[in-house]
């Protein structure tokens, strides 16, 4: 029971780093979510790693293989587990590095954990032992149509693929997404779904709304001061059951709400954190001058959990 031993070891020492997992399929928004958190906490307190760096084969080698990069067998899962345990117990790692631009495995990088470690990627919640390393776990679950759009935009823009190539790759990966990636959602303390709201006719630049499934597997902040009738357009909470029938609260954060109302919600959550000053400007950023209040509110909730576990 290595995972049990690890949980006990971690519980016994409050000064060990707080680990947050952000799992999700390719182009589900993991990096955007992570970057805002790292900037908000500062690089002197927070480091992020991507566990897709644990790819066992480079792009050329994968061409000969009967599976895609999503398959656990295509990754050094045992070494990922080992490195997560090391980080969780405050030790440095020499992390492998996969270069998305060239598709090659490059020289490894030293990662020394500080107060907070954010671990994003395709498979951080795949094994029991890897899950035991985290204080908080998130799964990003946008509707497929949204994720496909994001993937096409990114892979055409930053990685030099054609739209056809991206679509073919999505098809090829679908069986492994279903088998290995999406099942991780059930282990997440928080499942986040950025999505337009069905049936509404919002203008095209309306930010996506967010649904945050808050599982009672961790202690969520007391949002009573936030969920007041005057802010109902921006956020509200619904008691529901998840797809396994387990009780969950779902926080609905509306992209169409007036920004001032959403920002009042953000201030209220920020004040719960007991941190000085205003909420960091990096929260909610989608680009140099593009903001999303639902993203900011999501990041604030994660920030709450990071700081709460650190205290």
């Amino acid at each position: 029971m290595a995972d049990k031993a690890l949980k006990i070891a971690r519980a016994g020492n409050g000064r060990r780093p707080v680990l947050l997992a952000i799992a999700g399929d390719s182009a589900a928004g993991k990096t955007t979510l992570t970057e805002g958190l790292v900037k908000a906490l500062g690089q002197d307190r927070c480091v992020s790693i991507c566990v897709d760096d644990y790819h066992r084969y480079d792009r050329e080698e994968r061409k000969e293989l009967p599976f895609t990069a999503l398959h656990p067998d295509c990754n050094y899962i045992d070494i990922m587990e080992q490195h997560l345990q090391l980080l969780a117990t405050g030790q440095p790692i020499l992390k492998p590095a996969y270069d998305h631009a060239t598709g090659k495995l490059a020289r490894p990088q030293l990662v020394a954990p500080n107060d907070f470690v954010i671990v994003e990627g395709l498979l951080p919640l795949y094994t029991k032992l890897s899950r035991a390393c985290f204080d908080v776990t998130v799964y990003l679950n946008p509707p497929e149509v949204v994720r496909r759009n994001w993937k096409i935009q990114r892979d055409m823009g930053k990685r030099g693929y054609s739209e056809e190539q991206v679509n073919a790759e999505l098809e090829r990966r679908e069986p492994e997404s279903e088998e290995f990636i999406r099942p991780q959602a059930k282990y997440a303390d928080i499942v986040v779904r950025f999505s337009p709201i069905a049936g509404r006719d919002d203008p095209p630049d309306t930010p996506l709304s967010a649904e945050l499934m808050l599982r009672p597997t961790i202690q969520h902040p007391d949002l009573n001061g936030v969920l007041v009738p005057t802010l109902h357009q921006a956020v509200h909470l619904k008691l529901e059951r998840d797809s396994d029938g387990r009780p969950v609260d779902t926080l609905h954060v509306h992209g169409y709400a007036p920004p001032e109302e959403s920002q009042t919600v953000e201030k209220a959550i920020w004040s719960l954190l007991g941190e000085p000053g205003d909420a960091p400007k990096s929260l909610g950023q989608l680009g140099p001058d593009k903001r999303s209040e639902p993203l900011a509110i999501t990041q604030l909730l994660l920030l709450y959990h990071l700081l709460d576990n650190h205290q």
Copy 2:
């Protein structure tokens, strides 16, 4: 006291791999010694790693730095310690890789420990915690003139340097050899010195003799059956003091002895091991058709310790 905890953990489980360290300066003969042992045990039972792969900087980056690759600060010593601990407790590692041909840091390699792990390199005995990972430790200590010749031959032949470049590099490295490499000799259970014997006028193709300082820090084999007067020309033992004044036995193995006599010694040591058949042909090999009986006898002694620790 991480090293103490590790020693206790290792002592408690006899099925964990046996770790042998072979430390020494550049071109001291580490790889030649190691290769014969790996071949003798078989790659299914024995894996070897070189801890020079833990270089922190590539050749290009080192040009800007005030130290050479020999300096501990030029290496991920803490990660080397961590990986040695993992191997010593039977866990796999993703080992960094330094490419001597290009001088670049390359993609890391998975190393799964099996029965025996041989760890060679410049600094495997540099820290207390790294030393605690080993069952047997060896330091290779040829006279500087011998080592310089070996280094010139190898670096000109395999690594494309000129003799001038090799000599300049040796000069540049000398202060760090003195400060960091040679002091490791005092932590070795066995210090091996391949050298011609002063004052003798042997033909030029006479194999080098070997002096093996056998420290009482480990239990050496009972050589009474080997050290008989009829084999005195091949091997004999002297009770001496090392440079720190500590008592040691020194086994003198003579390169000028008739090969038949040395081979009788080898058979006698092999029979001590309780292994079936004859001693493996890989022992004593210096090249495709070049043999050294003193090398074979040295390797047999190390083989004895590896197998003895495994039982």
